[in-house]
């Protein structure tokens, strides 16, 4: 059975969570595994809630077959006698056990033994006084230079001092953890070099290669010879038959005293005149299942005999391969992270571009007081609003919601915004403007992509009209009567049918009235229990807050929304525009 602690495999010098020195006055978990007998890792519970599991994203990652993806959580609760820590099982497959009794929920006392799965990985709950061994710095303080030094030391001490190889690779492993968590760039090549150097040192082989799993097989990642020279991909010749055997079976092949058996006749081995071959799988536990998968291969060969590898050395090499497998897995995460960061940067630029399409400032149009708010689900949104300057003192504003989310929605919203601005310049009535935009969108977009839009035009006397193209009803707060009226849609969304006509409906925003135009992301915002914010709630807030003006209503809407969602993930873009007649 494979036990893996991440971040930071069982190294002497770190807490499990990077860079979190243990607070002496707080409770801790002591984690002891087969890798660190007698020297438990310390994990501080000072951070509040801690989720323990096997999947990335939890606070304490423990890779063990009996540990569920999200296994248990430990929370700090205030009780009459002072704060206590409570462990709660998260419907784990193999259960959470405290002092050999299965528990769903248990108030922890110092000395309690927590087992994830019966006889699985064991943690001990302790108060801070037991944590002296853990009150040190995390791997964040490890520097790359330290790896260099470690690798150099490796070369000096090999192959006798077996324990050191383990701990040096652990340091690399920790450094990768650090890079993963703190997003620093790290070179895969350097990591591979360290692994290869160690392997050459232990084995006395002439050449060493790392192959990484790619689509359709294993391909060259890096090669090194025993004098320290890099071997390029062109020099990459290995015995394919050996590699296939290891890749297929997941078992190492050691032939250090001459090639024998069926492989002796293998063409590649004969052609390369090889005397010795060692080939080991680099395995990592997959995130999705408990099965160890071969993610890479460490291949060593020699035209001479290698060191006569004793049973111990074989074990050493196997151990090295095991650690290298973990390192490889972490490297994957680091690379993924780097890729993510690149995409995020591009998105940030796109977001800026899109924001530049929105009005930089709200128009000053007496007697109206205008507020606008927009928050996209993802960086790029499908909602937008705009105020279009029209002569003769009229205020023209619009709010639109493009179907879909993210980049496709943002592209369509940019197209629509551009088309609207062009059409409005022609000076035609708004109904004709929308017909023109609709025709353009029908021609440019497939039928399932569309835009709902609410457009209003108001003169300084508060009179004007609106057109709702399939948009959810806007609300008009009547100051004099103190109630809310609904302004329903009169026509179909833009971009669906080319011959839709858009007819204006009269609208008057009288002194003391307040017009609320919004996207359904507001009313459909969900809380943790999947309940929607809802139209009733929105109308209630409007009735109560609108008499105190647009600014006050805006801040109330946002605070009520936050209070309702309680941080639950936003599922749709949220946008609203408020127009108050202050005359």
């Amino acid at each position: 059975m494979k036990t893996k602690l991440t971040p930071c495999a069982a190294s002497e010098q770190n807490a499990l969570r990077p860079c979190f020195p243990v607070m002496p006055d707080s409770a801790v978990l002591l984690v002891e595994t087969a890798d660190n007998p007698g020297r438990p890792e310390t994990f501080s519970l000072s951070g509040g809630e801690v989720v323990i599991g096997r999947r990335t994203g939890v606070d304490l990652l423990l890779t063990h077959p009996l540990v569920s993806r999200r296994h248990a959580r430990i929370v700090r609760e205030e009780q009459a006698g002072g704060p206590v820590f409570v462990i709660i099982d998260l419907e784990s497959s193999h259960g959470t056990w405290v002092n050999d009794a299965r528990v769903d929920r248990h108030v922890l006392r110092p000395g309690d033994r927590i087992s994830l799965g019966r006889n699985g990985i064991e943690l001990r709950f302790a108060d801070g006084t037991e944590s002296q061994t853990g009150a040190r710095t995390g791997p964040g303080l490890l520097q790359e230079a330290e790896i260099e030094r470690a690798a150099r030391r490796l070369a000096d001490v090999l192959p006798e001092a077996s324990d050191d190889i383990h701990s040096e690779l652990e340091k690399i492993s920790c450094l990768l953890d650090f890079h993963y968590y703190f997003g620093k760039a790290f070179s895969a090549e350097k990591t591979f070099q360290h692994i290869l150097k160690s392997a050459l040192g232990i084995s006395g082989a002439e050449r060493a290669f790392i192959l990484r799993k790619q689509q359709g097989g294993f391909a060259y990642a890096l090669g090194l010879d025993h004098t320290g020279n890099l071997l390029g991909e062109s020099e990459f010749q290995t015995s394919g038959s050996v590699v296939d055997r290891v890749a297929g079976g997941g078992q190492p092949v050691f032939m250090t005293q001459g090639i024998h058996g069926e492989l002796a006749g293998s063409e590649s081995i004969v052609a390369m005149n090889l005397r010795a071959v060692a080939c080991l799988p680099l395995e990592a536990l997959s995130q999705e299942s408990d099965v160890a998968v071969v993610t890479g291969i460490l291949y060593l060969d020699s035209r001479k005999h290698m060191h006569s590898l004793s049973g111990l050395d074989e074990k050493l090499l196997t151990r090295l391969a095991g650690e290298a497998g973990h390192v490889l897995e972490k490297l994957e995460m680091v690379v993924t992270l780097a890729e993510q960061r690149r995409i995020e940067q591009e998105l940030a630029i796109a977001e800026q571009t899109q924001r530049s399409l929105l009005p930089l400032s709200l128009p000053q149009a007496e007697p109206f007081r205008i507020r606008a708010f927009s928050r996209a689900t993802r960086q790029l949104g499908g909602d937008f609003y705009d105020f279009i300057g029209v002569q003769s003192g009229e205020l023209t504003g619009l709010l639109a919601d493009v179907s879909g989310k993210g980049i496709p929605a943002a592209l369509l919203s940019s197209l629509t915004l551009g088309a609207l601005n062009m059409e409005f310049r022609s000076g035609r009535p708004s109904g004709e403007v929308l017909s023109g935009v609709n025709k353009l969108l029908c021609g440019k977009t497939p039928a399932h992509r569309f835009v709902t839009l609410f457009l209003f035009q108001l003169g300084a006397d508060g009179r004007g009209h609106y057109i709702s193209a399939g948009h959810n009803p806007a609300y008009l707060f009547r100051g004099a009567a103190g109630h809310v009226e609904e302004l329903p849609s009169g026509s179909l969304p833009l971009g669906m049918f080319p011959f839709t006509s858009y007819q204006p409906t009269p609208l008057e925003v009288a002194p003391g009235d307040l017009l609320v135009v919004y996207s359904d992301g507001l009313t459909e915002a969900e809380n943790g229990a999947k309940e929607e914010f809802g139209e009733e709630r929105l109308r209630g807030i409007i009735c109560e807050a609108a008499p105190r003006g647009a600014e006050y209503l805006e801040s109330r809407l946002l605070s009520e929304l936050d209070a309702f969602t309680q941080g639950a993930a936003q599922t749709d873009d949220i946008t609203f525009v408020l127009i108050e007649n202050r005359a």
Partner: protein, 113 residues
């Protein structure tokens, strides 16, 4: 995939029963693809039975419209039956009620073609 489609022939009308959530990224384009495939095979009458649709968002509405325009473009007809309140509301808000031929029960809808 949370969307399930089941197609059967009822007196010459292809009835597609849709079950699950019609929403962005959860197989919502399946409806569009299915209608497209049927239209390409010469089907002129399609009835979408939406009584087992648990949730629909605006992208889902877009899929219904795409199905409608595909059929209209191919000289056929697409009608709807079994609308849940959520779908009804959305069709009402977007005024699409005026576009779709909507029926209350399947037998009645099949006869209406």
């Amino acid at each position: 995939m949370s969307l399930k489609l089941n197609t059967r022939d009822v007196d010459g009308v292809m009835v597609i029963t849709v079950a699950g959530r019609i929403t962005l990224g959860e197989g919502s384009s399946d409806i569009r693809d299915k209608v497209h495939e049927l239209a390409a095979n010469g089907t002129k009458k399609i009835l979408l039975n939406l009584s087992d649709v648990t949730y629909i968002d605006s992208s889902g509405i877009g899929e219904l419209v795409a199905g409608y325009t595909t059929m209209a473009g191919a000289g056929g007809t697409l009608k709807l039956v079994g609308l849940t309140n959520r779908v009804k509301d959305l069709l009402q808000i977007t005024k699409l009620y005026t576009v779709f031929d909507v029926h209350e029960d399947e037998a009645h809808a099949v006869r209406s073609f």
